[in-house]
């Protein structure tokens, strides 16, 4: 009887301390439902434009001739170009690489690593004897933009498999998101949950939901199309925390968590932002 009671106690403690990823996701949606009761949460894939009507109108006008269009064209061309060994990107991905971005990041059971789409693109290159591309902008971002474009309208479907290593990677990303850091001691959560929709200088802060659905992004501030990890580095710098290398384990696990939180939301990349 005593053992049974202890087991029950441990079960209750474990359940309360370690919520499952799906419980986290549902609790997060509930958090935003309470914060923005009149908003369709699916609108949050549009970032700050979900909150700011004036900025949204300007953005919609910009979408008539979107600045990321060149990246899509360049990306399609690069994607179709065969490697020196005659193979190509299409040989490395399911469904020939078309309409699959919603499944990334994914957990690779062989290596025990989180694989983002950009990481997989460079893996494809090195597996075929090609040099890896720079991570943040340029050809890699363009290929990713093209692949994102072919995935538009699909629903984010990141999987955390029943593997303790995958769950550990998810938990690491989650801890990173909610931990204050840097000289200014800001967590991602401080801006994108507590202060989502609030004005910060000239813009409003986007919410966490949908933050992973629309990358790569053409940012007017950058003057080019860049990857999500470029933005992670920028966020870290803004709070005076040392940024990590793009596609480092820390950032890949952060993306894993962030993307899972957007599961079920529509893929709308690439996108443009101020």
């Amino acid at each position: 009887m005593k053992k049974f009671l202890i087991a029950c106690f441990l079960f209750v403690v474990t359940v309360n301390v370690y919520a499952t990823p799906e419980e986290d996701r549902l609790a997060l949606r509930e958090f935003f439902t309470q914060r923005f009761p009149d908003m369709d949460l699916n609108e949050m894939i549009n970032g700050l434009y979900a909150f700011d009507e004036g900025a949204r109108e300007q953005w919609l006008e910009m979408e008539d001739f979107p600045p990321y269009e060149i990246a899509i064209e360049d990306g399609e061309e690069a994607f179709s170009e065969p490697f020196a060994n005659g193979k190509g990107y299409a040989d490395c991905f399911e469904n020939g690489g078309i309409g699959i971005k919603q499944n990334y990041p994914r957990f690779d059971k062989d290596s025990g690593e989180v694989i983002t789409l950009e990481y997989a693109i460079n893996q494809c290159r090195t597996d075929n004897g090609e040099e890896p591309l720079p991570w943040q902008v340029g050809e890699l971002a363009a290929i990713s933009a093209y692949m994102a474009f072919t995935s538009r309208g699909n629903k984010m479907s990141v999987v955390i498999p029943d593997d303790p290593r995958a769950l550990s990677a998810y938990e690491s990303g989650k801890e990173y998101y909610y931990t204050r850091r840097g000289q200014l001691e800001f967590a991602c959560e401080n801006c994108h949950m507590q202060s989502a929709g609030f004005q910060l200088r000239a813009d409003r802060l986007s919410g966490m939901l949908g933050q992973a659905t629309h990358w790569p992004v053409y940012r007017s501030k950058w003057g080019e199309t860049g990857t999500l990890h470029k933005r992670f580095r920028e966020c870290n710098s803004q709070v005076r925390a040392k940024p990590y290398e793009p596609q480092s384990q820390v950032y890949r696990e952060l993306e894993y968590f962030l993307s899972y939180m957007s599961n079920g939301m529509e893929m709308n990349g690439p996108a443009s932002r101020r």
């Binding site: 909610y178 850091r181 967590a187 005076r240």
Partner: protein, 104 residues
């Protein structure tokens, strides 16, 4: 007055001796400060909490030492170490409380 001369000389020597290390840092003092700073920043980095400003200070300290300005070098290295200690304190505090911010 003659009896005061040895006393004055002793006092002057004592003041000079005691204040000498504070007047000018040397390479050894800088190396000691640098070692402590590197250890602290390494600890902060292992806890995923290094500040971007700390490494800049450390680089500046190394440049100051290279130019022979050990006073400035020690000051900058010490500032970097203090930043590292604050980062470690944040890491230890956040480890205990970050879960409180997760919606349940």
């Amino acid at each position: 007055m003659k009896r005061l001369i040895p006393v004055l000389v002793s006092v002057s020597l004592a003041v000079l001796t005691l204040s000498a290390p504070a007047l000018a840092a040397d390479a050894a003092e800088y190396q000691a400060a640098l070692t402590k700073t590197r250890e602290t920043l390494s600890d902060a980095e292992s806890k995923v909490q290094l500040w971007s400003t700390s490494e800049i200070l450390l680089t500046d300290a190394e440049e100051a030492a290279a130019s022979g300005d050990f006073d400035l070098a020690v000051k900058l290295a010490t500032e970097a170490r203090l930043q590292g200690e604050l980062a470690v304190a944040t890491a230890e505090r956040e480890k205990k409380i970050w879960q409180n911010h997760v919606p349940k």
